[in-house]
């Protein structure tokens, strides 16, 4: 037995591919991960049971009071509702748009490279720049769209998507789609290029229509790409913060306050760092839950396709 162990150890140590000493090389990366990610996350749990205000370190433990407040004062419900609407709209639109454009740009057309670059272009700007630009695009009376409406003989002053309770959330969501569909498109494009041309040719010989080619051959073959794109979009949608912050500051009223925006406001405006931590923990749990359910569902669909 002792001899066996010795032999095994010797064998492990002499592996040229991955010997035990290689674990030491993990330490720097692991240390960074632990210090900069795991430790702050644990601190978050810790602060969530205190009344820390972000300034005064003479705080007290308050048990689960912060969680109770978040669950009862209505902010979680409102921000969760806004976040889910935001996520659903952005996931659906960015994937339909991304896939549609990827299909077009996967055909043999002229200036394909130029069009691909143009479609990806918005993804290169920072969210702040995009938010500011679109604030002016949406501006009533003299914004870009309002000016176009005026030019066409309409009433541009009536166009006020960010000032209207019913449209503000969708308006900022469209900006997210505009910025994000390029990335989605690139991933779909990569997926579509892996589809074997001979399969499509065989389909055509068997008399498939273009829709049947897409539904029965292309879509099943890029199903893993769809999963990746949908999950990435869902995560991005649930983390929505940038455009609420830049373009509407959560308004009008509370109509564009998302989960992350509410966390920010609780922490930095209300100076309730403890409660914001509790909010983050709950938001974190919800995002994980939704993502896991989505992932399980998408994986099942992948197999069915």
């Amino acid at each position: 037995m002792a001899g066996q162990t010795k032999t095994k150890r010797k064998g492990a140590n002499t592996s040229l591919v991955f010997n035990n000493r290689m674990y030491f090389f993990l330490i720097p990366a692991l240390a960074f991960f632990l210090i900069l990610w795991i430790y702050p996350v644990l601190q978050l749990f810790y602060y969530s049971v205190t009344n820390f205000n972000g300034v005064n370190y003479d705080y007290d433990f308050v048990g689960l009071k912060n969680y109770a407040k978040v669950l009862t004062n209505g902010t979680l419900v409102n921000s969760m509702k806004n976040t889910l609407i935001y996520a659903v709209v952005s996931v659906v639109l960015s994937n339909i748009l991304g896939l549609g454009i990827a299909m077009i740009l996967n055909t043999k057309i002229r200036f394909k490279g130029l069009f691909r670059t143009c479609a990806y272009f918005p993804a290169l700007f920072s969210a702040i720049v995009v938010g500011f630009i679109w604030s002016y695009v949406y501006m009533p009376s003299s914004g870009m769209i309002a000016s176009l409406i005026n030019l066409l003989g309409g009433d541009g002053s009536a166009f006020n998507p960010l000032g209207n309770y019913n449209t503000a959330l969708i308006a900022i969501c469209l900006v997210e789609v505009w910025k994000g569909f390029g990335t989605t498109m690139i991933i779909y494009l990569a997926g579509l290029q892996t589809v074997d041309e001979s399969l499509l040719e065989a389909g055509r010989i068997d008399g498939c229509t273009e829709w049947q080619l897409f539904r029965k051959i292309k879509l099943p073959l890029i199903s893993s790409t769809v999963t990746i794109n949908v999950i990435l979009s869902v995560i991005a949608g649930l983390k929505a913060f940038d455009y609420s912050f830049i373009m509407t500051n959560g308004g009008p009223g509370k109509s564009t306050k998302t989960l992350m925006f509410q966390v920010y406001e609780t922490a930095f405006t209300d100076q309730k760092m403890g409660r914001a931590s509790a909010f983050s923990v709950l938001a974190f749990a919800m995002i994980i839950l939704i993502t896991v359910i989505m992932l399980a569902y998408m994986n099942k669909k992948e197999v069915e396709l």
């Binding site: 005064n56 960010l162 209207n164 009008p252 309730k272």
Partner: protein, 458 residues
């Protein structure tokens, strides 16, 4: 396999240690904090009992030193804080290097908190009166971060006027300016509508709005998409209707003697402001989609006759040469003004150079030094009486407000007395009301009261 187990155990141990360090860190910080409080208490005794003044020679005898300072804002060309101030301090004291960091507001708040938490706070920081903002002098003083400034030359003779930067008897912020909220108006458009003078009563103000509207001129433009601008009008009306009747209203709010829901207080103010939207003197269908800077631009372009704004925005508002006037919105009880002490500068309690910083601030705010002149020339500060006030740019615009202030008819901005977050609730609910969401004035006052109590609840 065994190696993996060892690794997993190591990870777990590191994480557990991390958690303990986390707790320990907080305990340390708490200890630091209480130490700071003790030190503050000690300083208080020193300030009030032992020393009449600080060591004025300390800065000259300090040798080559570097003093750090952090302020909020966006640095411009030949910026006062980041360029002119360090150069002028160097000129006065060649042995002193002043390093100034200027950060946009949100970055400033985050950076300030991080630096305070790590004990690396700059020697001089920008703070706001009472409970205003995340750098409010009261909350920082309560945590023991700010040095008492009672013995400074620019403070010791005027402590009575500095009550909103005085915490437990100690002045903790050096400020020599005031900030005003008022109504900017376009004199040409007023003349076009046949309006001869500035309104002196709320009814006259409404009549003037009507005249402008009848003349086809948009009476008031506001950038309500940036909801904070709602404060610009509401606080003026609060000065007229609430504080003029009960200057201790906010103190009593904290003690529970008054409430936002009291009849004839905030319900009246909100109702009055709502009238402007009901009559389309401010067009909510437009203003809710307009940002603050867009509203300023519209006023500067002469597209609207009035806008409610602060003295801090005077430069862009009159940038296009608009012949502008500035008056406090009159109320039903007369004319009062929402004029408060401006943000100022505090010294970090644990700074190695407290006396040196005091010397710098005294030199800066003495009302006659080259630093003071350069500070005033920025146009962002309006000096209080007796400190070269008439040298403030656009002084003619501001004089009526400062006169009212000196007559005892000036009140601080409401949010300075509230825990941060109360005003955002007020803004959100008011936006809902003018946006047609069925919110009523009663809902707003109740929401403000609930939020106020919630924020005070530890």
């Amino acid at each position: 396999m065994k190696m993996k187990k060892v690794l997993a155990l190591t990870c777990a141990a590191v994480m557990a240690a991390g958690t303990l360090v986390g707790c320990g860190g907080s305990a340390d910080s708490a200890a630091d904090s209480s130490a700071a409080e003790e030190s503050t208490a000690a300083s208080k005794v020193e300030a009030t009992v032992a020393t009449e003044t600080y060591d004025h020679q300390a800065i000259e005898n300090a040798g080559d030193i570097t003093i750090t300072m952090m302020v909020s804002g966006v640095a411009s060309e030949n910026d006062f804080e980041t360029e002119q101030l360090p150069a002028l301090i160097k000129e006065k004291w060649p042995n002193v290097t002043l390093e100034v960091t200027k950060l946009p507001d949100d970055n400033y708040y985050t950076s300030l908190k991080t630096k305070l938490a790590s004990g690396e706070c700059p020697d001089i920081i920008l703070t706001q009166p009472m409970y205003a903002g995340q750098n409010s002098c009261y909350s920082l003083a309560e945590a023991g971060y700010l040095a008492p400034l009672n013995d400074m030359d620019c403070i010791k003779d005027r402590m009575a006027s500095l009550s909103s930067v005085t915490y437990n008897g100690d002045v903790v912020t050096a400020t020599s300016g005031v900030a005003i909220l008022g109504c900017f108006y376009n004199k040409d458009l007023f003349a076009q509508a046949g309006i001869e003078g500035e309104p002196q009563t709320w009814d006259e103000f409404l009549e003037d709005c009507k005249k402008l509207q009848d003349a086809g001129i948009q009476p008031i433009v506001m950038g309500d998409k940036d909801q904070y601008v709602l404060q610009f009008g509401l606080y003026q009306l609060a000065a007229d209707e609430i504080y003029s009747q009960n200057p201790d209203y906010d103190v009593q709010l904290r003690s529970g003697e008054t409430s936002f829901t009291d009849e004839g207080t905030w319900d009246k103010v909100l109702e009055m402001y709502k009238t402007l939207y009901d009559n389309k003197y401010i067009d909510a269908s437009q203003s809710l989609g307009y940002g603050a800077s867009q509203a300023i631009q519209d006023f500067a372009d002469g597209k609207a006759a009035m806008t409610f704004d602060g003295s801090f925005n005077v430069t862009p508002l009159i940038a296009n040469g608009v012949d502008a006037g500035y008056f406090p919105i009159p109320g039903t009880n007369g004319v009062y003004t929402a004029t408060c002490l401006a943000a100022g500068y505090s010294i970090y309690n644990k700074s190695e150079y407290v006396d040196e910083c005091k010397a710098i601030l005294d030199y800066w705010l003495d009302g006659e030094s080259p630093v003071w002149d350069a500070y005033l020339a920025t146009g962002k500060v309006i000096a209080t009486y007796g400190n070269g006030a008439d040298a403030s740019p656009n002084y003619d615009l501001f004089k009526p407000f400062i006169d009212l202030l000196n007559e005892g008819k000036g009140f601080y901005w409401c949010n300075q007395a509230w825990p941060a977050g109360t005003e955002t609730e007020m803004e959100a609910l008011f936006s809902e009301m003018i946006g047609g969401q069925g919110t009523t004035v009663e809902d707003i006052t109740q929401g403000m009261q609930d939020k106020f109590e919630d924020l005070l609840d530890e």
